[in-house]
Assembly symmetry: C2
Homo-oligomer: 301 residues x 2
């Protein structure tokens, strides 16, 4: 099995990142990822203030996919996520939704035992997901902690085993990297972090020629999730609404006004994370209505 | 069966609204509600511009609940929602999330046939819910189209059959009114309206003495949904996060910092509506974690 090791990480998605490996479509690949804290938190008295933020959010990769060209969609089929047996979570003043309220930094280690995460005597069911996943963007350099059209730190709960993430290829070879796996997280990731764990992610990569979405799309068994990341959640929700309308127009050949009404009836707007430099909104559509991504991707409008 | 007829409506929740009926706790009551457009849209060429907005969002009631006192929670157990056989949906410039994009007003009538809503040749599964539900506030007058601590136009999808809504009683007798039933709606209600229908809502009312929540709470079989409505979705999401932390502190006797971390792991922040004068955010907690509302309501902090 082709494996991208932990040591091969990037801290920014940029057009010129250099691939560490080339793979063929349909070839299974394992990404060994480091936790989003860069492995710096190993004890509960490891102070949040002393974190080296230049080592936060490492993404393993990038991997070049043979044949990927700008305008394609890169399909990342997530087959499995194997978690380390311990994670960590941090919060502190100035970080997270209540960064204006919390008075002191706090760190907790979280044991991952079987299908549970242990926290304060509670057992939370694990729900593994990939926080950072992206490709080289068309232009600009995006720190791995920032999400945008290329993907990045979207922190979408839906990006877990069984899901397929569709990313817009903007550079030859796509140049895929990922990291920031969470053992469990709530929509919003309100305290700024979740159960941050190292992991082993097994994926199969596939190309949809000419199928590049405008923003990353996740497909699960039942749903299409459109992910938009912009500086404010207001802007992101506005654009996610536009994306939902556009998807309905394309999937069902509807004029704008009809698709807008249908979005109001059937699209569930929501949030993925509220705590990174760009905030991530989602619009969730039932596949009973729009069908799979590949049925309507790539076409106008 | 005690029935509050369609003709008995209010257009604002205020401290001094006059009850049209008194009921005992545990006595089943039917509220006959008028659609949120006030029954003004009966044809697809009924122009949005000619709507009389003083007749929009009628709420049936208010009903006085014997024994309700400020500081209590009024539990509204929703037993059933019987829908009219036709609804309507509207949108137009300046309204809804894409009010800056849509170029002309549009009105559609929607047939409700069995368990489906018919739209553009599609069949959407009905999911009845109450858009406006509230009690007399402590002070101020809130148009029924505006949501705040007293409830009002929260447009939460979860307020449907089988759910219980807990509202903070602020005036003697509580003074409950409701309306704006939707046959189906997506989170966000992005175009400004949903499938607006008249309906017959059967509820049982109950008091939780001294149990007033700070903001309305919905309980379903699996979840606790905390609803916060403020002028921007940013403010509402911030306050909903605070409410989630507070609920976790109360339910699990945790200090603030622990509850904040746990919220990041287990609370799902989201949106109910993005289109009314106050926007409604939600924080969803699993009952496996916090248990039923009545276990932790009313206590400090």
């Amino acid at each position: 099995m082709r494996t991208v090791p932990k040591g091969q990480t990037i801290y920014a998605f940029a057009p010129e990142i250099s691939p560490v490996m080339s793979v063929e479509p349909q070839e299974p690949v394992i990404f060994e990822t480091i936790d989003a804290l860069g492995g710096q938190v190993q004890a509960e008295d490891d102070a949040v203030e002393s974190l080296d933020f230049s080592r936060v959010n490492p993404a393993t990769g990038p991997v070049r996919i043979v044949g990927a060209e700008p305008g394609d969609a890169l399909a990342v089929e997530i087959r499995s996520i194997e978690l380390a047996d311990r994670g960590a979570i941090i919060a502190g003043p100035g970080m997270g939704v209540l960064g204006d309220v919390i008075e002191r930094p706090v760190t907790r280690l979280l044991e991952v035992v079987g299908d549970t995460v242990q926290f304060a005597g509670l057992e939370l069911p694990v729900a593994p997901m990939i926080g950072v996943i992206g490709v080289a963007p068309e232009e600009g350099s995006f720190p791995t902690g920032t999400a945008h059209r290329h993907g990045g730190n979207m922190d979408a709960r839906e990006i877990g085993p069984g899901a397929t993430v569709y990313l817009p290829v903007a550079q030859p070879g796509a140049l895929l990297a990922m990291g920031d796996v969470h053992a469990v997280m709530g929509d919003g990731e309100v305290c700024v972090s979740a159960c941050e764990v190292s992991a082993s992610v097994r994926v199969v990569l596939r190309l949809v020629k000419g199928g590049a979405p405008r923003w990353p799309v996740v497909e699960t068994a039942e749903e299409i999730i459109l992910l938009v990341s912009l500086p404010t959640i207001d802007e992101a929700l506005h654009e996610a609404t536009s994306e939902a309308v556009r998807a309905l127009q394309k999937a069902l050949s509807l004029p704008f006004e009809e698709a807008y009404l249908l979005a109001s009836l059937s699209a569930n707007l929501g949030v993925s994370q509220l705590v990174d430099p760009n905030k991530t909104a989602k619009a969730v559509l039932p596949k009973t209505l729009v069908g799979p991504f590949e049925r309507w991707c790539g076409a106008s409008p």
